[in-house]
Symmetry: C2
Subunit: 140 residues, 2 copies
DNA sequence: AAGCTAACTTAGACTGGCTAAGTAATGAGG
DNA sequence: CCTCATTACTTAGCCAGTCTAAGTTAGCTT
């Protein structure tokens, strides 16, 4: 078996290709990947600004502007947290939910298509690796 | 075995986590991921502007500005292609090469560390999946 | 030689990120 | 209670990175 460092080098090369292909694929989409990611965080219910910022690895002012754009486009609404009047919450609107679902559908369609081009065996190795990959890229 | 669409959904969720973790990890690095990616494309020798733009999935003006910043920082130099005076080439400087290697080293160190936290078995499944993943995310 | 095409650059606008500084609410000490 | 530090967020201003539209220069075609 390959030693961890060599494996890391291979994964690193793979990640580079992955990032490039994701960029090429998301060209010309009607919603940016960041907006998609933020909407995704709101799927399970309202969230606080500071939660969102932490989850996405950005500072609060960045999230304020991000949410401002989503607000402007009618995809989210802001609210206040009853127990602490300093806290701002954000919630999906129906339009935001729809936008999220449609974009996700497109992405999954695309991935499915690519997966179909692989052999059953190759898909099997990917499936077997998913838990380990999830752990590898877990919250840190 | 899971059907391709369900597998695609799992991969999609995994990709989201991956992107978020990559963002968090690259916070505060002295070079942006885009700059790293462009420097990486120059490792094997000079490239044309239009090649670089196509590989990175951006338009030519974007690459012009990107290269402008790398130029300003002394990491690349521009040249002309003898056979066609319209063509602009870009090449790593020694400083650019060093910067690239150091950044890559850091990333591989980080990945190695994470890999060490997995079991031998888990690393095995990842290693087994790499060729299929490479194919999955190939140029398309 | 003229005019079309191709390879880039420039200009101007938007998203997305940051730090620094401002505002308003909470909470802790006296 | 009042004061004051802290917390949660916003505003302002900067820079990177992306786009489209329009300009420039070189090659190509006829």
């Amino acid at each position: 078996m390959t030693d961890p460092r060599t494996l890391a080098e291979h994964i690193n090369r793979g990640l580079r290709d992955l990032v490039l292909v994701l960029r090429r694929v998301s060209l010309g989409q009607p919603i940016t990947t960041q907006q998609m990611a933020v909407l995704g965080s709101l799927e399970a219910g309202p969230r606080r600004m500071s939660d969102l910022a932490a989850e996405h690895g950005v500072r609060l002012p960045t999230m304020t502007r991000q949410i401002g754009r989503l607000l402007r486009d009618g995809l989210v609404v802001r609210g206040r947290y009853a127990d602490d009047a300093r806290v701002v919450t954000v919630e999906l609107t129906p339009a935001g939910g729809e936008r999220l679902l449609r974009a996700r559908e497109r992405r999954i369609d695309h991935l499915t298509e690519r997966l179909m081009a692989l052999s059953e065996d190759e898909r099997g190795t990917i499936e077997a690796a998913l838990p380990a990959l999830a752990k590898l890229f877990a919250d840190s």
